[in-house]
Symmetry: C2
């Protein structure tokens, strides 16, 4: 059994409460006893017991982090380790620990979150995704439990603290880049339409087309989970169109890699024949072939800001809902190319 506050107290010849106060750096402890107690703590190898402490404090000093359910392969997205790092950076600094929550199915996830909340294992929760009609979010809302979202809430946007990029603008700007290069037939490939991030990025894509006076074709929009075969089929159809696109806006770097692969299969080369842009700027996008022109969304920043907001909210339940927009910038690399021959008006 580890050494307790009592034993330290006895050794230092003071009361347990005094030791506790020394730990908390209470101002009304004389320098002399402070020193004496600290010495005893060192000598005896004392370390406070987090459980006891948290019980007394009615807190846990830990942040729950909820990943999307891992039904799909999306979880292998390097986005996640990177946000985790961001969260970890400030959590560590402010002396919080991170409780991770994954699960195979949505039900399993919800159950896991409920357990975390009910059993008081965490002081607050970060949702690493945002989707339409999310039961977990509803639960948290209903319980009035502190949480923040990385991404934009599907509803009650003004009541829920969230950390996001301006994905609409990012979508618009990156699409605009393609337009500037002379592209007029631009497709959009994104994941599930339930994910807010997909919706926003697509919205930006639409706006850019509109602004440029380019037609907006239903056939140019693909939503797929990208589990290989499904995605292949979709891309195949896209390029079987009478007027196939010359540029594609893809909602995620990881998908881009799959798309490049499929295009190659169909004999289309990137960027010579098709230009591609995407989002996230994971490390991968730099080392893949071709290196991707992509929106750097500052994943690490998303994570660290989310952690910061959540901790503020935990410390002060009255903290108003906030919206933090992490700026993005575009990394211009080699997956796009100017288009010379204007494709008929």
């Amino acid at each position: 059994m580890a050494v307790t506050i009592k034993e330290v107290a006895k050794a230092a010849g003071v009361a347990p409460s005094t030791v506790s106060r020394v730990i908390a750096d209470h101002p009304r402890i004389s320098p002399a006893t402070k020193k004496k107690v600290k010495k005893a703590m060192k000598e005896m190898g004392y370390h406070p017991n987090a459980n006891a402490r948290n019980l007394a404090n009615r807190s846990t000093q830990s942040l729950g982090v909820v990943m999307p359910s891992s039904a799909d392969k999306a979880l292998q997205n390097p986005f996640f380790p990177e946000v985790l790092r961001g969260i970890s950076a400030v959590a560590h600094e402010l002396d919080y620990s991170m409780l991770l929550c994954t699960g195979e199915t949505d039900d399993e996830m919800l159950e896991a979150v409920k357990r975390m909340v009910y059993s008081n294992r965490t002081d607050g929760i970060i949702l690493l995704y945002s989707q339409v009609n999310d039961p977990i979010m509803h639960f948290l809302l209903e319980q009035n439990f502190p949480f923040v979202i990385v991404g934009k809430p599907a509803e009650r946007v003004d009541e829920i603290t969230h950390v996001d990029n301006d994905n609409v603008r990012a979508g618009k700007e990156i699409t605009h880049h393609l337009i500037e290069l002379g592209h007029e037939r631009i497709a959009f490939i994104g994941g599930s339409e339930d994910r807010i991030v997909t919706i926003d990025r697509m919205r930006g894509y639409e706006l850019a087309l509109e602004e440029a006076g380019l037609p907006y074709l239903e056939d140019y929009r693909i939503h797929t989970e990208f589990l290989k075969s499904g995605g292949r089929q979709a891309v195949h159809e896209l390029f079987s169109l009478p007027k196939p696109p010359t540029g594609i806006v893809i909602a995620d770097d990881l998908m881009s890699i799959g798309v490049v692969n499929m295009l190659e299969e169909f004999g289309k080369r990137v960027p010579e024949e098709v230009s591609i842009v995407s989002f996230n700027n994971v490390y991968l996008s730099e080392i893949t072939r071709p290196p991707l022109t992509t929106v750097d969304i500052h994943i690490h920043g998303l994570g660290s800001q989310a952690a910061k907001c959540l901790i503020e909210k935990i410390k002060n339940k009255e903290e108003p809902a906030k919206r933090i927009i992490v700026p993005f910038d575009i990394k211009y690399r080699s997956s796009t190319k100017e288009i010379k021959t204007k494709q008929e008006g």
Copy 2:
């Protein structure tokens, strides 16, 4: 304040200890009172407080998971989300939660681990990496704190429970595959030589060469962190050799992608001019171009086995050290090609 055991007891007309026993499903509680108490719990929305419980039990019901320090980009490896899923699967099942531990520097990591251990935040630790002379491992050993390694310990192999693939054999077999295809000039590219996984895979590579009577050249071995520029330089040198390799064994799928990219830059095509094999079989390796022939190490299994072992060890301190070898299999895809023209004797 949440409802406590006492309140439930009062409502059900029993003693708090009875309620506690109902929760623990104690056999000596009559079905009648069990039912009565459960009803009260439901009605009042009672949920046990994890902190109080853990304090009384001197346990935490949580597993600490230590990722490598994120100094390098290696953390963006999809390997990690995938092991986490594996760990999570059994942790969840056995009602443990996962405490994540990352850090920028090695010192920060060590400090974080010390805090976890000293403050009793976790019952045991899973190390997601293994390297030579790891201060964290030494600390854990010295404290006699339950931990398991995903990978092979650098020392005291028989005293430390670990879950690993037979990386030497995997290295040998995958290299052998290249040899079977007629390759005789085979290089090896791996990450840091401090990582045991690199060492083992390279050892397998060497064994395969030896067995086939192929020469083993110093110049054919590259170790790099693969932070782009460094890797590029190395690959450049490799292919400036008088006799450049026709096949490469690469220690990790993620690196493979970088290598393919660089080769392309140097005008070498995969697999037409250079064959490539690697390890891990992350989702990416399937969708990249070309799809990689790679060793499927069953990442999920590594994680789940590790969690299982750790929990066993937590429950029984006397549990002997174990070594679990998760089987691997090779996914044959399109990054290798038979070599026709025997390159001079």
